[in-house]
């Protein structure tokens, strides 16, 4: 289980690197698909079927939207930094990543180990079927215990649709 998990995460990392480094935007987006679908399988391994379903469908739809956008515009990534600027950027990135990783490694032992989290708030949720009547505990959490969050989440989607329709207007200003 742990081995396959680590292998899948490594696959995700490779997919991410290819997605960022490829010169062709379309193949970059398809490599991004590797990351998303590997994440779906990881969700299944971690006993999160709800997440796997949502992730696989939303991944597909996101890829469709991205591919539609790229096919309408251009596939080539012509932006490449050269010379001093590239060196400086890389240096800054490596420094930051190094410090971040180092700090994270020092706290790793203070966090609860993988596989046995300390439950506090969710102890009550584990018995959610008796309290809400829903068999699916995730549904019980998102629509009963924490339904207010879900209202916010639906509102985010509503907001972004309103924003997209507003941004893609042909004319913004009356003259």
């Amino acid at each position: 289980m742990l081995t396959s998990l680590i292998l899948l995460i490594v696959l995700m990392i490779f997919g991410a690197i290819i997605a960022l480094e490829s010169k062709d935007l379309l193949s970059g987006i398809i490599s991004l698909g590797i990351v998303g679908f590997a994440l779906t399988i990881i969700f299944l391994l971690l006993h999160a079927p709800d997440l796997a379903i949502v992730q696989i469908i939303i991944e597909t739809l996101t890829l469709v939207i991205l591919i539609a956008a790229v096919l309408k515009t251009t596939r080539k990534d012509t932006s490449e930094e050269f010379g001093l600027q590239k060196v400086l950027l890389w240096g800054a990135c490596i420094c930051f990543a190094g410090v971040f990783m180092w700090k994270f490694l020092t706290i790793l032992n203070h966090l609860p180990p993988f596989g046995s989290p300390e439950l506090r708030m969710s102890l009550a949720y584990l018995n959610g079927t008796a309290q809400t009547g829903a068999m699916n505990l995730v549904a019980a959490v998102i629509l009963d215990f924490r339904a207010y969050d879900t209202l916010g989440e639906a509102t985010v989607l509503f907001t972004s649709v309103a924003g997209i329709i507003a941004v893609l207007r042909k004319v913004g200003r009356k003259t």
């Binding site: 993988f114 046995s116 949720y125 972004s160």
Partner: protein
């Protein structure tokens, strides 16, 4: 260090790769891809946090009375990831529509050719 903690390290590595994409890449679509990778990494961290090694999926097929006996994985991080995925979809779609609109104005995705604003 406990061996299994390495999964967290790998997830953070994924997050940093996404951050690298956002900060270093000079192409609008690549920046969007970087942000999406960061989203994935965070969702992965949440899912890893909720996992319990002897747990099962948080769905009871047998009814309430047998619930107490079974051990479920933590449903709360899963609910949070569900929310985070949808929020990520909203932001990504908005970013893509901005990128397309900018392409329409400038005919390129390259940030350096777009920069009209003074810093």
């Amino acid at each position: 260090m406990i061996e299994s903690q390495w999964v967290f390290v790998l997830a953070i590595l994924l997050f940093l790769i996404g951050l690298y994409g956002v900060l270093v890449k000079r192409n609008l679509i690549k920046i969007v891809i970087g942000l999406m990778i960061m989203e994935y990494a965070i969702n992965l961290v949440f899912a890893l946090i909720g996992y319990r090694s002897e747990g099962t999926s948080p769905i009871s097929f047998n009814g309430a009375e047998q619930n107490a006996a079974a051990i479920f994985v933590d449903p709360l991080p899963q609910a949070l990831v569900l929310t985070a995925i949808v929020i990520g979809l909203g932001t990504t779609a908005l970013l893509v529509s901005f990128a397309v609109r900018i392409f329409e104005k400038y005919d390129t995705f390259d940030v350096r050719k777009i920069r009209k604003l003074r810093g």
